[in-house]
Subunit: 420 residues, 2 copies
């Protein structure tokens, strides 16, 4: 294949390490200048390609690109924008190819979750149909850890570490205050459909006495009576109770606890937030003093406590995507394959996008204890290696020295605008 | 003074570094075995003294005590328990002296905030009145940074660092998503009366374009119209808006934006849930998509991102309290005196408890910008040194290796029980 440009875009919710993948892509591409002339990044993800609003990464120094490895968020802007099916919206796909042609783009790297892998797959199909060859590579990214085939998803290990560490720390606080103050602490974590992040909270303790005492998974129908009974037992036995609740926790009929239409302890109508709902149950039914935290974006942007394993893997999948593309491969995604648990060993493998697109990997039943409130030894074996190692960013005057790119635009070549 | 035992207790809300002060007390006491035979710690603070439920710290190894320096929470248990005035509740004070006599306690170290300094002061008075000499030393601790005289309070620097780092990280996340998703992010932080913690969020950005774009202080009456207008301006100008809101944010009439109507053991109004209130205003009046996080206990237990300056100072005030006591001083508290801003230099000084008890240091007007939504250069000069330096705990299998003490009881000597 002759020398071509590459297009890279970030998609969906960003993570603490998605920029590490971008770093892997760009640094590997720069090692193959004879095959990849430049990496253009989409400003605000795929929207940047559709509107021909691309960023010239060659304008960034090697040092700046290297700093992406320790910078959270999406350095080029991400987007929640899903391309529809080819038949429904052929125009968008054709526009992509038109932009790729105009800028001599022969490689398409799409860094995202399930939806994005579907898009990357469709772009590979349309490129074949239109006779303009583009190597289409997915790069896995999701804090939800719900992509199939890959053993885990870059982005998850760091949010898992943040939640496990935060649970452990808050539990020490609550335990010391329980005699005269807060008895129940509730931590709300992300994961609308899959309970991987909630499960990670379980790493904070090893015995039933250690926090978290209760985990509420989206996979386990919420049983209010059993839940309250367990809270009471914990407080009776240990003086306090720490609960990790997934934002996706729901009743047997599928209704989310967060949309229960209740009022919080302060009489305010619920504004979406499962922690206050759970905390209010505890107060109303058991009369116990509570506190709650909602980690929200803090959990997925917490690069300061990123997992070293996660950073390495995020970088590796970015690097591997470029390698695969240079080998002439297309319509695949680098996946992480676990070679062994102890010692933890992994390698990069590949999987076709068609097998990944639009599929969700839920927390398996065997990872949840029989009572539905905890994680099993098998789950712990799976999760532990993913949070291992610290990879601290450099600091300046007490704050992480995160990089902000220049993000200079690539000169437009097309005469037509495209409205998304 | 002949060889005596010491009593140490933790009081009120714990912090990421209160155990570092305990470490300073115990390690310094162990260096003076000829004067201090043993340090007994109150189980659950002062309640442990009243109920004669004390912990024998001599049963803990040097290594375990050293590990307190990097362990958050209150290792011996803390309590929200305020002793009333001497006239109102003479029995409690007499009981304290009775317990001190029974266990040959000649030193009383009380690690807490304003209320605790009042207690320590009263104990010094009663000890004199009852003719049983006890050196009564306060040790400053409060995330709220609201003790007078001392330049800053141990515990604050670490929560300040956590809030500044979290604001910076979440802002990178929101900025990358703003094109198609969340436009407004609200972070709720502690600080019931004083806006020190909220102000620390301001360290995350240096220019008006950088987050946080708005800080809501308890010191500035909340003006809904001005607030919403500023949010709109930010979103128009920067595409997104990051807001740090203090739990103590209130209207001009003094009513908190989020008031629970309940009161804690010290008679303070219980607060919580201001972030959803603010976020809901943004949604209702401006129709903007928002996310919010409630840091709650995560912020004050986040030892993983503690400020090295804070850890050093927390240790130093513990150590200094023992030194002062051994010099025969009483009814004082070690304070931190700032010698210079650049380079930041500080030393330990002393102040009488009578000048500290029950006084609150608010954020001065000159630290808040004229519009009421930001921090001034003077505020930045004050805050910056306090978050400087990282002091990471050791890790094991991806989690901080925090210590849990044996906490073995001291054999009771009194025949009478005391009910608190």
């Amino acid at each position: 294949m002759a020398k071509k440009n590459a297009f890279y875009a970030q998609s969906g919710g960003v993570t603490a390490v998605i920029n590490a993948s971008a770093c892997g892509v760009i640094e590997m591409a720069r090692k193959h200048k004879n095959q990849i002339a430049n990496v253009y990044a989409g400003r605000n993800g795929i929207i940047g390609a559709l509107t021909e609003d691309m960023i010239d990464t060659n304008k960034e120094s090697a040092r700046t690109i290297a700093a992406l490895r320790h910078t959270p968020g999406g350095a080029f802007g991400s987007a929640r924008y899903k391309l529809k099916g080819i038949e429904e919206n052929r125009l968008e796909y054709e526009r992509l190819i038109e932009v790729f042609k105009a800028h001599d783009i022969g490689y398409f790297f799409y860094n995202g979750g399930n939806d994005s892998m579907d898009t990357a797959h469709k772009v590979s199909q349309i490129s074949r149909q239109m006779g303009y060859p583009v190597a289409c590579l997915g790069i896995p990214k999701t804090v939800d850890n719900d992509l199939p085939i890959t053993d885990n998803c870059p982005g998850f290990g760091s949010v898992a570490k943040y939640i496990a560490v935060s649970t452990q720390e808050a539990a020490l606080d609550v335990a010391s205050m329980a005699k005269t103050s807060t008895k129940v602490f509730v931590l709300e974590v992300m994961g609308r459909h899959a309970g991987w992040i909630a499960a990670a909270g379980g790493l904070a303790g090893k015995t039933p006495a250690e926090a978290p005492h209760i985990i509420l998974f989206p996979e386990v129908p919420f049983n209010k009576k059993a839940f309250l009974q367990r809270v009471k037992e914990c407080v009776d036995r240990y003086d306090y109770c720490v609960i990790v609740v997934s934002e996706g926790a729901r009743y047997a009929d599928g209704k989310f606890l967060a949309e229960a239409g209740t009022r919080d302890a302060f009489g305010h109508a619920q504004l979406g937030g499962v922690a206050p709902v759970v905390a209010d149950m505890v107060r109303q039914e058991l009369g116990l003093k509570y506190h709650y935290a909602v980690a929200d974006y803090l959990q997925r942007s917490a690069r300061h406590i990123a997992s070293a394993t996660d950073v390495k893997q995020a970088y590796a999948v970015g690097e591997a995507a470029v390698k695969f593309a240079l080998q002439g491969k297309t319509a695949i995604m680098p996946v992480i394959k676990r070679v062994s648990d102890t010692p933890y060993k992994w390698k990069i493998d590949e999987a076709p996008l068609s097998r990944i697109a639009n599929k969700e990997k839920m927390l398996p039943k065997r990872y949840i204890t029989a009572d539905g409130f905890g994680i099993t030894a098998a789950c712990r074996r799976y999760l532990e290696p993913l949070i291992r190692g610290e990879d601290y960013p450099p600091y300046k005057n007490g704050l992480p020295n995160y990089v902000i790119l220049k993000n200079q635009p690539v000169t437009k070549k097309l005469k037509t605008d495209f409205v998304v």
